[in-house]
Subunit: 477 residues, 3 copies
Amino acid sequence: KMEKSTNLRWRLPLICFLWEIIMIILFGVFIRYDEESDAHWVEFKKENNITSDIENDFYFRYPSFQDVHVMVFIGFGFLMTFMKRYGYGAVGFNFLMAAFGIQWSLLMQGWFHSLDYSDGKIKIGVESLINADFCTASTLIAYGAVLGKVSPVQLLIMTLVQCTCFAVNEYILLNLLLVRNFTIPAQSLLLFFFLIILFIFLHLFIYQPSFIITKVLNNFVLIKNSLAAWFSIGTIFLWVFWPSFNSAISNHGDAQHRAAINTYCSLAACVLTTVAMSSLYERKGKLDMVHIQNATLAGGVAVGTAAEMMMSPYGALIVGFICGIISTTGFYFLMPFLESKLKIQDTCGVHNLHGIPGLIAGIVGAVTAASATEGVYSRQGLTNFFDLEGKNEGRSISQQGGFQAAGMCVSIAFGVVAGTIVGLVLKLPFWGDPADDCCFEDEVYWKVSGQNTPGEWELLRKQLRLGWKEGGDTVFT
Amino acid sequence: KMEKSTNLRWRLPLICFLWEIIMIILFGVFIRYDEESDAHWVEFKKENNITSDIENDFYFRYPSFQDVHVMVFIGFGFLMTFMKRYGYGAVGFNFLMAAFGIQWSLLMQGWFHSLDYSDGKIKIGVESLINADFCTASTLIAYGAVLGKVSPVQLLIMTLVQCTCFAVNEYILLNLLLVRNFTIPAQSLLLFFFLIILFIFLHLFIYQPSFIITKVLNNFVLIKNSLAAWFSIGTIFLWVFWPSFNSAISNHGDAQHRAAINTYCSLAACVLTTVAMSSLYERKGKLDMVHIQNATLAGGVAVGTAAEMMMSPYGALIVGFICGIISTTGFYFLMPFLESKLKIQDTCGVHNLHGIPGLIAGIVGAVTAASATEGVYSRQGLTNFFDLEGKNEGRSISQQGGFQAAGMCVSIAFGVVAGTIVGLVLKLPFWGDPADDCCFEDEVYWKVSGQNTPGEWELLRKQLRLGWKEGGDTVFT
Amino acid sequence: KMEKSTNLRWRLPLICFLWEIIMIILFGVFIRYDEESDAHWVEFKKENNITSDIENDFYFRYPSFQDVHVMVFIGFGFLMTFMKRYGYGAVGFNFLMAAFGIQWSLLMQGWFHSLDYSDGKIKIGVESLINADFCTASTLIAYGAVLGKVSPVQLLIMTLVQCTCFAVNEYILLNLLLVRNFTIPAQSLLLFFFLIILFIFLHLFIYQPSFIITKVLNNFVLIKNSLAAWFSIGTIFLWVFWPSFNSAISNHGDAQHRAAINTYCSLAACVLTTVAMSSLYERKGKLDMVHIQNATLAGGVAVGTAAEMMMSPYGALIVGFICGIISTTGFYFLMPFLESKLKIQDTCGVHNLHGIPGLIAGIVGAVTAASATEGVYSRQGLTNFFDLEGKNEGRSISQQGGFQAAGMCVSIAFGVVAGTIVGLVLKLPFWGDPADDCCFEDEVYWKVSGQNTPGEWELLRKQLRLGWKEGGDTVFT
């Protein structure tokens, strides 16, 4: 069984080279600098009466961009290093996926959002980089659900399909349905259904036979990891930089400012209720690191849509308060239920951290938007913020609600489609995914001599067969 | 003895929920956006002839804010992960305290500094977030002194009391005594006396009986940790971002610029003298990681007050030079003295890193301020910097010195009061603090199955009773 | 043999104190604030019709500065923590070197670039800090080549010599030959030859006798480290912040913006080809962490010179594409060749990561500069960018090419000179470097009780003498 071919010597280089060459060609044909990053900026400034270089969008967004970049590569990567023997894969494959994803997202989002019809080119600037990071982030989140069970080739395919679907979905929502401030919850919905479908496929076709052993092995490495006694640095980086995530592409000025404040408040409240629930659920009141490392972030997700609106700091606190409770509960009840009853294994608990809080984000965003008044925003503020004299002219708030509902349906449809495609493609037998009893092992795809001696491996499997019991494990000290 | 109840199943959730609900109510009643983060910004701009969104305070301070945020959650958290079996507690409780502390600080500092008397609301913006982080940071520093010996419930109480005292003290200093640039050393003084009093209480009432065993255990875990061979990433983040810490709330323009330069210089000098002293003190000239990880930061603390003044880069070097020597000496001589003679155990050596350098900061700040002249600052610069036409009108430099001395006395008083309150409250028997021989153990408050098997625990305690000797420890490989 | 004196009790403190005192004196004599960080800024603003504090260079560059600062202290430090028993030395000595290096660079670069002839003072601002970080970074890169084999005293001397040579070389290039945008490849060339010469000296005079044992020991610790299963956080920080590195001192506005975009693209492409080549080289298609952690960064190095030019995003992708291939190949073929045939041991593979990509950077930069046209840059843009009405007036593009070639020769010469000086000085017998069989051991210079028990040490040496074979190593679990 271990002999299932995971040798990627031709498949992985082939896909990497091929795709990168395609990227180069497409970038060559399509992508150019926008007016703020092009050398013509000096003339652009003159034409538009811009008096100073500091008005370049770079200075409005670059600090936030770097924070988001840290979140994507450090945050999401190290959030998944909780398994002792899958540290390379967690960060390394996250790295590979993200590096490809941002290139593909620049193209996909460019075609839909920044295509200059005068010359048929996509014009990119720092905001495009941030959007590419966002689009990629959703793929990395989905990686958390299949962490340790797929090959890098499968992950690259997954990145391609998902970034595509996300960009198309985003286009329909923002440009056709004109749903404002709705990207994040819609994407969460997409992600939610994408994962469900994906799980069903994975479950039906790939992981059935020795599922129990995989599960035990999974727990095994999870438990032993505690020896490392490391609080995930990924969590903290995500938590600290989430205000930048939510404010990075908000309107200049007060909107960006407010988005940071609201996210800051929501996250703080979420920590307290997560700790409370975690302690409440455990028989002896002890805290479970899995909850603290994940559910504390739900506040940032759930406030994502409404963060730039006038939701008030106390509104943000309430959102964080609720999310901490719901997300922790998800980790405590939903995850084991999915695993034992439905045989769906969500390695990182993505549903609890991103799925459900994403739904909450949609509701919060809709409610906050619907309750916007001139008194709160000022006449000019309201007009600017909701673009009432631009794209959204003549739409009533209740009509807007209808379009948002339509947006949610579109997102669900895309989730199902993307999940089906990815699920079907991944179950093809030639992507080099690991056999069930080799899951969650870096050794399969990484040169880690010295890590797993054959003897240890043998011993582990013996223990697994005999039934492993707590406290009696001295194999991997 | 191990049976002392550390089950927090009701106490911790109760305090978390209760306090968070109070936060929500108080935020709802009091906290609103300030004019730069409110949607009325578009009108505010017009009224004040502000031509560009880039003039929003957000763009002046947000990058520094994010650096400070990293320091608070990553820096202080990971600075305390030097104990092999207390990594969860170090970062996790730091996280919990900080998340509560920033909310409470927003309120406390808001009431005293940003209350808008026209409508009775606190108006917050990015500067408020930075100030809340600062206020909380002092509490996290104090956590270092009791690291591993208290329960999360006690830590939350400590956070409440300390943030309150700090905000009140800051108000008296800045608004009543009009002591400029004196917050940091005053807060250090407060911290210094707070800790001394706290230690006395803790010592008298809680930790007496088996103190020696605790100490041995402490050393034990400290030593074995070296296997990890990790240089603290917390230290480096603190060191790297300290220029942002000292410049984050300085005046726009040259003051912020100068504060960063001075801190950069002082920290660099401090590293060299710390290395020199550490090598000098050890018999074989080897470096002690405890010194390098802590005393190198003293330069940032000590330059805190004067950083935004015209102290000159060489002045900053001198401050760093002296602080490296003094702080390392503190770690080498003072800490063991406190521990063996006075039975005061300062887990992280807070006195050497923050206490004494804080005093130096006060002196440096006073001297630099007193020597300010029109030649150095320019007439307009001096007037602006010391607000001579505003709050400080008509005060001579020498009078200012008197008020600063008064400020120091106030701070000492607050330190004593805060220490007494916290000490008295903490010694109440129902906060779930660990028994002496369970200190410095994550297992007490965290679900870490696999970490401490009962067998290992037994063996460790046997070794301790027999007297533990270097080189003979194979228990926790 | 182990008795070779590595006791630095007097040498290290002496050099630290002496040099820091010299720094203080030189800073006192020479270094002052520039007009943007001086309190006269308020008058400077008025004189120059600057309307807002946001025009202060601080706000253009400080976020990038902090990113670069993280790269220097965290990135380069933790990039070298791949040896299980040399984690303290990797980060700790990197810290010491950098702290001294930035001070000395401020002086050296100040004398050459920022000396105000009216009063004989160096005027520093945030751009000076960034430049000092850059200059120091090259020294830290060189540290990678001798990691584990030298004493901190030698490292301080190396820092002094190298920073000096780099600053002088930079001066000749930028101010005498007026070679624009050529600093990074020239510095890479310098570094390249510096290291070659240094290696020859080290090889001839110091590390000959028991070289093989050292090598085995080196491999030994490398291999066992994999137990840690940590993907280098240093790599990711370097990768994430490299756009800031390349854009930090670019011209305000579009140049800074463009430099960030190009670097972002090049790095992304580099990851894919690195993964492809790494998988291709290994018999079973497994990925080698050494490649992934290093070669992925080559794209950032190679795009360094041309990043701020109009190279187009697809141009950046091509550079990254090529660099990933070349750098990985270097790690796979060149490094073992150097080690086994020439007995040159480059611990971190600096030549593959910085040397060769540096040469590529030079070529890319020259080609991109030579192909600049008014059509691409706009007339004004071209004039501004290449300073055609300033220093470079009247020079043709082909002449510029000639000067660049001259610049490369100068850099090579400086590399040889610096290498010779450092090599000669280091081979003096009194710097306390470790004996061959104590290399790559933290215990030599750090107080790490508990890490290496004498018994383990003995056992290791026995194994080495007997010949060590994979899978049979149970000494350092």
